[in-house]
């Protein structure tokens, strides 16, 4: 088993991811964006784990193949860097828009979800007050009303 990671890198990853996650859970939109940026750095670094330990740059002919690092994770990380940038730009534009429209850049609780939770609490209270028979009545089968035995003369007439 060849471990391609070293302790320093593992610590860096742990630190970057923890800080990124923490920032992501903040209320300020700007901090959330910074969290995404830092998570992006962590992810790009993580990609290099697949490339193995440090080695010679991959220029054809400059070194033997065994000494080189894996070029594929680098190419993918390159793509990832640019896409992180695109995402950051877009999120910043969103934050700006939020600021322009609402006057703040806070991530607030969803009002609609709060309303559902409140409605469910209210429903529970109502339920406790209503007797069970009334709630069941809404689902009765659409059949002719039944009468208790002996209460009417319909049966006798039918015979």
């Amino acid at each position: 088993m060849v471990v391609t990671i070293n302790i320093t890198m593992a610590v860096t990853l742990a630190g970057l991811y923890s800080i990124g996650f923490y920032l992501l859970m903040q209320r300020s939109l700007m901090r959330v964006i910074l969290g995404i940026v830092i998570l992006g750095h962590g992810a790009n670094l993580f990609l290099q784990v697949a490339g193995g330990p440090p080695g010679e740059p991959t220029f054809a002919g400059t070194a033997v193949l065994e000494a080189m690092v894996d070029p594929l994770p680098q190419a993918l990380a390159l793509t990832a860097i640019v896409i992180t940038f695109a995402l950051t730009t877009f999120l910043l534009a969103l934050a700006y828009r939020s600021w322009a429209l609402l006057g703040h850049d806070e991530v607030q609780d969803d009002v609609e979800d709060r309303r559902i939770a409140a409605a469910e609490r209210a429903a529970r209270e109502v339920e406790e007050e209503t007797p069970e028979s009334e709630r069941v009545a809404g689902f009765e089968a659409p059949e002719a009303p039944e009468s208790r035995p002996g209460e009417d003369d319909e049966e006798a007439r039918l015979r």
Binding site: T8, H41, P54, P57, L72, T79, A117, R121
Partner: protein
């Protein structure tokens, strides 16, 4: 056979167009599909009973062994007689029953009924469990749409939903059971599963799940209330779906699997117990119904229970009885439903308290309905009698269990006689203290359509040799032929005596009201319908409760839950599994240590920064630090791109944050969860690092793809820089995607920044700093970066 199924769907696609123009005539066109299928099935009937049933296969997804196989054996043929025969009759009947001007209903119902006929046809022909399930659910959906109608009335919606929920519950259980069964048997083909039935604990569970599907579909106790509720559908729909065809799907499923599993206790015990209970309860409840249609619905439930009992008994004789009764029940029950349709339509009511004197007005219809009722009550000379004779013979000739069941069946049959008489008197009798209904014609075509199944029951009873090869062919799967033949007269046998006793008892019960008055009453708390209502209420309350508690509307809480899941679920897997860490080095290059320190300090400080600009600049330091790491790691291009992009990111950040206040707004309300957040984030981050260490231990040198890239870069692309060769040549499509993302983000960003004119309510919500110079921002927002 496959063509016949497809033809149904094709016709179903066409009939709405016809209905839009010609109205209810579309039903007659729709009837062509099942009628042609019936002719075709009869044409190939000889092959079906020959022992080498015709087989057609259509590859569906051959890679994963999915195919559609149609197999026409005796049982399929028997069901097709009902599905296609009754289907054609009902469609023609509906063409007179429907309102002349209502083209929309005609278009919907004709298309749905033909689709349904096609789905049923596919269901009984399918020889692999997956297509069986597909057609099964298609019938459920058709039933939902047909019962729901236009969906305007609440009662329609409630009934349709109940039918859908109950049958889909069973359908899903059945799917699971069928897959388990197929996996245990190693084949998805039903004929192969039945030829070599698997065994074991899994098979027991699978059988019970399959049974759940059959019992819900065929309205067995305790799932039966959906069937009386579904009687809100138009009467022809009820006649077809809820008497002749769809409810037979569950019976068909049991009939299909019983030859292999009839000895399995998990199979026959639930069938016989539920079936018997259903037969008695259905008959008991039918005794009190004033609505003719609901009376028939409970009668159907009762008869379906009877069929289940006979199939569950699993002997040659009981299978012969079940086969005969399936046909007999389809014929007499559809005739009766169609009769009720005429009464409802022409006399204006189907409440037996308001009907009087119809028997004298409509002599032909009364005669036809009487044949059907006699068949239902099990009287000669009708097919129902023959079936019941065989059933009694089968049960009372058998062992102790069979005899006990036989007594139950006899009691159920007495109830059948009683409600048959109730129907006859209620619908056609002249009540002394009531004025007879005003004379109206009952309609020749509709009466003609009642005549078809009603007289078929009579004709087949007189010449049972016509159907005997089918019934006996099916029964042969349960054992050898004991030399019994279907006939009206076997001499004076015990079964005949019991039959006579049943009829006499039925007439006596009907005569003496005291017994009947007690009949049919079930206390409200014991009714299955109220159980259904309570379980639906419970489900809704549960859904509301879960939503109210889980969906709190707070982004940090959601993220916290996601991160905790990320740690707990794979973490538990790691702890449970056998994973090892390799030998870890402290560092590969001493430069990594100062870089790590720089990156971590910058990132940590950015958490504490109160000013936006400080935080942004510190994040930039992290980015440059990562770039430096790439240099150390040997990724020159990567480092270059990282430095470039980091610079651009900083520029964009600065452009935006100059609009914002310099400091972060700190809302006191959110401060209290800080330590929880920190703990979750720290754990999740550390877990990611642990994953990285584990993952790196499982990489094995440079993969072949990368070697090839390095070796071929110079020859094939002319580039010495392999990373560049990969980006612009080997994996150019990735790069195109990347550029697309950039373009989309740039467009989005620009439109968000530029959209200044629409402001909330037009009032002064906008911050003072937000106005000028926003247009120049786009230059900074949307640079097309190419690395």
């Amino acid at each position: 056979m496959l063509v016949a199924i497809l033809a149904h769907f094709a016709v179903a696609a066409v009939v709405p167009l016809i209905a839009r123009r010609y109205g209810r005539a579309a039903f007659v066109v729709g009837a062509l599909a099942p009628a042609a299928t019936l002719v075709y099935a009869l044409f190939r009937g000889g092959e079906a009973v020959s022992g080498a049933p015709p087989l057609e296969t259509l590859a569906w997804a051959p890679v994963i062994g999915l195919e559609f196989t149609a197999r026409l054996d005796e049982l399929s043929l028997l069901l097709i007689l009902l599905i296609s025969g009754i289907g054609a009759v009902v469609l023609v009947y509906y063409s007179r029953y429907a309102k002349p001007g209502d083209h929309r209903t005609a278009a919907r119902d004709s298309a749905l009924l033909v689709t349904f006929a096609g789905a049923m046809l596919g269901l009984v022909l399918a020889d692999d469990v997956i297509s069986l399930y597909l057609f099964w659910e298609l019938t459920t959906v058709c039933s939902f749409l047909l019962v729901g109608g236009d969906g305007v009335a609440k009662r329609l919606r409630t009934s349709a939903t109940q039918a859908l929920l109950v049958t889909t519950l069973g359908g899903l259980a059945m799917l699971l059971g069928l897959i388990l069964l197929g996996t245990a048997a190693g084949t998805m083909r039903i004929s192969e599963i039945l030829a070599a039935p698997p065994s074991g604990g899994i098979v027991t569970a699978a059988l019970m799940l399959v049974l759940l599907g059959a019992l819900t579909k065929s309205a067995q106790v305790p799932f039966h209330p959906w069937l009386p509720s579904a009687m809100v559908a138009p009467t022809p729909v009820s006649a077809y779906l809820h008497a002749a065809a769809m409810v037979k799907a569950g019976v068909y499923l049991v009939a299909r699997f019983s030859p292999a599993f009839a000895d399995h206790p998990a199979w026959w015990i639930p069938i016989v117990v539920c079936g018997l209970w259903t037969m008695l309860l259905g008959g008991f409840r039918a005794l009190r119904q004033y609505d003719l249609k609901t009376l028939l619905a409970y009668g159907t439930i009762s008869q379906l229970g009877f069929l289940m009992v006979m199939l569950g008994s699993g002997t040659w004789m009981s299978a012969l009885a079940a086969g005969t009764l399936i046909l007999a029940h389809g014929l007499f029950k559809s005739a009766l439903f169609l009769t009720v349709g005429i009464i409802d339509k022409r006399a204006g009511t189907r409440d037996i308290r308001e009907l009087s004197g119809l028997g004298r007005q409509w002599r032909v219809l009364t005669t036809l309905a009487t044949f059907a009722l006699l068949s239902m009550a099990g009287l000669p000379p009708l097919l129902g009698f023959i079936g019941k004779e065989v059933a009694l013979e089968a049960l009372f000739e058998g062992g102790t269990v069979d005899r006990v069941v036989g007594v139950g069946v006899a009691v159920g049959s007495v109830l059948t006689v009683v409600y048959s008489l109730r129907f006859l008197r209620g619908a056609f009798g002249t009540k002394p203290d009531m004025a007879p209904s005003a004379p109206v014609p009952c309609g020749r075509i509709m009466t003609g359509m009642v005549a078809v199944p009603s007289l078929a029951g009579l004709a087949l009873a007189i010449v049972p040799d016509v159907i005997e090869p089918i019934e006996a062919g099916y029964a042969d799967r349960y054992g050898s032929d004991p030399g019994y033949h279907l006939a009206l007269w076997h001499g004076i046998t015990p079964a005949l005596m019991i039959s006579v006793g049943i009829v006499v008892a039925g007439v006596l019960v009907h005569r003496y009201a005291g017994v009947q008055r007690l009949g049919g009453h079930i206390p409200a708390p014991l009714r299955a319908q109220s159980w259904y209502g309570r379980s639906i209420d419970g489900l809704e309350a549960l859904a509301r409760g879960v939503t109210g508690r889980i969906q709190v509307g707070s982004l940090p809480v959601y993220l916290g839950v996601i991160l905790t899941t990320l740690v707990v679920v794979p973490g538990a897997g790691l702890v449970a599994g056998d994973v090892g860490f390799g030998e870890l080095r402290l560092f590969d290059n001493w430069l990594q240590v100062p870089i790590t320190l720089l990156v971590l300090i910058a990132a940590g400080t950015s958490l504490l920064a109160r000013r936006r600009l400080t935080a942004v600049l510190l994040a930039g330091v992290v980015g440059y630090g990562i770039g430096a790491w790439f240099v150390v790691d040997g990724g020159a291009d990567l480092a270059l791109a990282q430095f470039l992009v980091e610079t651009l990111t900083l520029v964009v950040f600065v452009f935006v944050i100059r609009r914002f206040p310099p400091r972060f707004s700190e809302d006191k309300a959110y401060v209290h969860g800080r330590w929880v957040k920190a703990a979750i984030a720290g754990t999740a981050g550390t877990f990611v690092a642990v994953l990285a260490v584990l993952y790196s231990g499982y990489t094995e040198g440079m993969p072949e793809a990368s070697r090839q890239y390095i070796e071929r870069a110079e020859d094939e692309t002319g580039a010495t820089n392999v990373v560049n060769a990969i980006i612009v040549d080997f994996r150019a499509f990735d790069t195109i995607g990347e550029i697309t993302v950039l373009a989309v983000a740039a467009t989005g960003g620009a439109s968000l920044i530029l959209a200044r004119s629409r402001r909330r309510g037009g009032s002064g919500e906008r911050p003072a700093t937000g106005g000028s110079g926003a247009a120049d921002d786009t230059a900074g927002e949307a640079p097309e970066v190419r690395s």
